[in-house]
């Protein structure tokens, strides 16, 4: 492969490797819970194999060498020689990290191992050797043992094994190992593999020899006959083409899929027939029948392979010639060569493969940057459309207004579809925590499982990226502080295994993510004591539960008595809260002592756009997110009151005019916009209601990063800037203000 081709496809390799490594990691973490352990281990093995294979294409010797050792251990696990213990899983996870680091090195353009990675590799290999060493000594079939390079660190050539074998194996046909049977069933335990490589196999960077070498690990090659394509034997042959084919008698306890796996990389580029042991002779017959003309009598070759006997062949050929019109398939069915169950399974498998393939065809990879660009453009489009709409209305032309209104509808659809493009399921984020829980709980010596729910919930990719750090902190906190040590759990009559749960769902324009644990819960007395000690609250003050729990988000607060390297340094929850609030989100805690704690994070579904509702205050225009609005009413409240009666319910309200210190006289008829956030209803009093407006959120920039109650800005159809009201912050601020007022009133009474 030329260097330029390598460079061109390298990004694909990197992307694929990252994905496959993730699959490998997911697989390792699933070993404990998987209903089908063998399949899980197989999947892990395949992942390692894929990485090794594709790294080989790029000549990445370091990755190949290391992954090979990992693969060897995994192969042991696959064959049941090595137990998939939790120690081994942890080690393999470290290996995944190591391979990932090596892949990232390649991505960074460094082809050789740096020192840190090199130093890391030694101990890993040593530990891996501990798992593979006893396996080699055990009573494994000799061929398998030989297939495992004894000392990969020496950099021994991978293919040495096959050279040795091919030299040692007898010439085809010299010794017929099987005893000629008289039955129509080929009576032996051998598979028969028939492979004809495509011409492009070598050009694609695949080597038939390495496949044979790999086969040697799945089982033992008993006999092999090379079938050269006649086209390769003439002078016009192209030395870069592959003219090889093999007939192989193969002994293995692996299943068909595993054997097929050996040919995974050339599957699309070759003709492969795998005939299971004890197949009807007709199977072989079909193989013979399927050969194109000009191939030397395959029947004879099969006999030479020892896969069938001469007599079996003759008998089968006789059957075929006596019914020339019959399709081979029909013969097979008549002869009951394949059981109906097998057929069903094969059909199902094929359907599944087809499905998977067509799924691939229906989705495409797009650079995230291109999507971001598109969404930015859609944002500008919305603003331009709003302006057009406004001008259209002013022009008082019915025709123009019809045009602009259909344009607006289309723009709305375009916006929704564009945003949908960037929506991703939260599953990938959640699954990453499997690893975190596994590692951290081991580190702390706790037995903790992670339960995930609502992983289908979708949210904007930009939100996902920003939410994972705060979530990480919350999960670590739950493991470290939430779940009690095993002895305490036992004393409380809880199951020894602690549970951390992640849950996600949509709720009125927000995504809600819950991190809960079944641990000891928050101890209110300790929080209050600590907060008093830190001077966060005055001693002796009565606080609601909600207020007490809110204290853990105060800067410099931590109740952990021991400082671990995970959390407990008091720089946690306040950062979590700040980051979430910065994304127009909010965070809330519920807890019950001895039962557990739930932290609820609420985030907007997207950071790019909102459906807004415009309100006027004096000369200014503000935007309230429409998702949070329940209804709009005319204000009717007695002077001096900051609550009103809505259908018999008390509704507290705030005057936006006061909050934002807007100058000028109040409108004669004020309106009240009823907002609902996280289950709290409140009214916002405004001068005028100006209607719905779909809008793009423009960040206010660093200059205004400290401004409260404003969530951003947007540009109206007139070209004016309107500010977006940050409803959660506004409600929180007015709640605090109310509490303060009450307290000062209290103090006034006591004084």
């Amino acid at each position: 492969m030329s260097a330029s081709i390598t460079d061109r496809v390298l990004p694909t390799f990197l992307a694929e490797s990252r994905e496959v490594l993730q699959e490998m990691e997911d697989g390792l973490l699933a070993v404990g819970q998987s209903p089908d352990l063998a399949e899980t281990i197989n999947a892990i093995f395949r992942a390692a194999h894929t990485i090794k294979g594709s790294a080989g294409l790029f000549d990445l010797a370091d990755i190949v060498k290391f992954t090979h050792v990992v693969e060897t251990v995994l192969d042991g696990a696959r064959q049941g020689r090595v137990e998939m213990s939790s120690d081994l899983i942890s080690l393999l996870l470290l290996c995944v990290d190591h391979i990932r680091a090596m892949v990232e090195e390649i991505a960074a353009g460094r082809r050789t191992l740096n020192e840190a990675l090199g130093a890391q590799q030694g101990p890993l290999l040593e530990r891996l050797a501990r798992f593979s060493a006893p396996a080699a000594k055990a009573a494994a079939p000799p061929a398998v043992e030989r297939a495992t390079p004894a000392a990969p660190s020496e950099g021994a050539p991978e293919f040495q094994l096959w050279d040795e074998r091919s030299a040692a194996s007898p010439a085809p046909g010299v010794a017929a190992a099987s005893t000629p049977g008289s039955d129509a069933i080929a009576d032996h335990d051998r598979w028969h593999l028939s492979i004809r490589f495509g011409r492009n196999v070598l050009r694609n960077g695949m080597e038939p020899l390495s496949i044979l070498n790999y086969l040697g690990k799945v089982g033992t090659i008993r006999k092999l006959v090379t079938i050269p394509d006649p086209a390769g034997l003439v002078e016009t042959m192209d030395p870069e083409s592959c003219y090889l084919g093999f007939e192989i008698a193969f002994e293995s306890t692996a299943d068909k899929a595993a054997i097929e796996g050996a040919f995974e990389f050339v599957r699309d580029d070759c003709r492969l027939n795998i005939i299971p042991p004890r197949s009807r002779v007709a199977e072989y017959l079909r193989l013979i029948h399927d050969q194109p003309d000009g191939v030397p009598a395959l029947g004879q070759i099969l006999v030479r392979c020892g896969s069938i006997t001469e007599r079996e062949l003759e008998a089968a050929l006789k059957v075929q010639s006596s019914a020339p019109e019959q399709k081979v398939g029909a013969i097979l069915v008549q002869q009951e060569a394949v059981s109906p169950g097998l057929v069903d399974a094969a059909v199902a498998k094929q359907a599944q493969l087809r499905e998977a393939r067509s799924q691939d065809g229906r989705s495409i990879r797009v650079d995230a940057e291109k999507l971001d660009n598109l969404i930015n453009l859609v944002g500008e489009l919305i603003i331009a459309a709003a302006r057009t709409d406004m001008v259209g209305r002013r022009a008082r032309s019915t025709e123009l207004q019809e045009c602009t209104s259909s344009l607006s509808t289309l723009v709305q659809h375009v916006r929704d579809s564009a945003l949908q493009l960037r929506m991703v399921k939260i599953a990938a984020t959640f699954n990453r925590f499997q690893r975190v829980v596994h590692d951290v709980s081991r580190e702390l010596g706790k037995d903790i499982g992670l339960v995930v729910a609502g992983e289908e919930t979708e949210l904007d990719k930009t939100v996902v990226e920003k939410i994972s750090d705060p979530l990480m902190h919350l999960v670590r906190n739950a493991i470290d502080h939430g779940i009690e040590p095993a002895d305490v759990r036992a004393a409380r009559g809880k199951p020894a295994r602690g549970t951390v749960k992640l849950n996600a769902f949509h709720d009125s324009g927000s995504i809600v993510i819950e991190v809960s644990d079944d641990g000891g819960g928050l101890r209110k007395d300790r929080i209050v004591a600590k907060a008093t000690e830190r001077g966060l609250i005055e001693a002796g003050r009565k606080l609601s539960d909600r207020e007490i729990y809110a204290l853990i988000f105060e800067p410099g607060f931590s109740t952990a008595e021991t400082v671990t390297n995970l959390s407990g340094r008091g720089v946690g929850m306040d950062v979590v809260k700040r980051n979430i609030v910065a994304l127009r989100g909010s965070v809330d805690v519920r807890s019950e002592e001895g039962v557990g704690t739930t932290v609820t994070v609420r985030m907007p579904l997207t950071l790019a756009m909102i459906n807004g509702f415009l309100v006027g205050l004096g000369n200014s225009v503000f935007v309230i997110p429409l998702d949070m609005i329940d209804e709009c009413l005319e204000l009717s409240a007695e002077p001096g009151h900051d609550y009103t009666n809505v259908r018999g319910q008390v509704l507290p309200f705030v005057r936006l005019r006061d909050v934002f210190a807007v100058e000028g006289a109040r409108a004669r008829r004020e309106s009240i916009v009823v907002v609902n956030y996280a289950g709290r209803r409140a009214g916002l009093v405004v001068d005028t209601l100006l209607g719905e407006f779909q809008t793009v959120i423009k960040p206010l920039g660093r200059s205004f990063q400290h401004v409260r109650c404003i969530g951003g800005a947007t540009i109206l159809g007139t070209g004016d800037v309107a500010l977006i009201v940050d409803v959660p912050a506004l409600l929180e601020q007015s709640r605090r203000a109310a509490v303060r007022r009450e307290r000062s009133a209290d103090r006034g009474v006591h004084a």
Binding site: L700, S703, F704, H706, A713, L723
Partner: protein
């Protein structure tokens, strides 16, 4: 008006300001503010626009006029007079907004500055710039990069990044925040 200001001096070769800036001498945009002449290095100046359509941002100090829509981007506008502790600028026909690009913490951003009138672009040689007076000025001396001598008169050369950077914004907002804590 702004156009005349620009053409008056823009006659020099375009590459001159850059090269000169490297040597510590360069072109400056001078403007009027409360009857006094100020200057900022021209490399900071992005454009000069008419004053209009400034949306006020609530709960900000008086020297933050608000935000404008600059071709789709939301740009803050600062009242320099108020920033220097003087009465806020009164709007006239000659009032305009100078959009200045500053870099803070590696981040590039635009800030609009309200000025009474734009005067000219002047070449001020490094030798004609004196250090800011240590005391006696009405303006915080760390806002000033120096006093430039133009035609025998002094203009106050502002340090755009200092004047317009966030510390000022932040502290004033925090001050505002402290007010409502009883």
């Amino acid at each position: 008006m702004t156009a005349t200001g620009m053409t008056e001096v823009g006659g020099g070769s375009r590459s001159a300001p850059r090269a000169a800036a490297l040597e510590g001498s360069s072109q400056y945009l001078t403007f009027l503010l409360g009857g006094e002449q100020f200057a900022v290095a021209i490399i900071h100046v992005k454009e000069i626009i008419e004053y209009g359509r400034v949306a006020p941002v609530p709960m900000m100090p008086a020297w933050i006029r608000g935000v404008i829509n600059l071709r789709g981007a939301v740009v803050p506008v600062m009242d320099l007079a108020a920033r220097f502790g003087r009465p806020a600028a009164t709007l006239t026909r000659r009032t305009c907004i100078v959009v200045v690009e500053i870099v803070t913490e590696g981040e590039r951003r635009d800030v609009g500055v309200v000025v009474d009138a734009v005067s000219a672009v002047q070449d001020i040689a490094a030798r004609d710039i004196e250090p800011p007076p240590a005391m006696g000025g009405l303006i915080q001396s760390d806002f000033i990069r120096g006093m430039g001598k133009v035609d025998g008169r002094f203009v106050i050369i502002l340090d755009a990044t200092r004047v317009l950077s966030d510390e000022g914004f932040a502290t004033s907002v925090n001050a505002g925040a402290n007010e409502d804590v009883p």
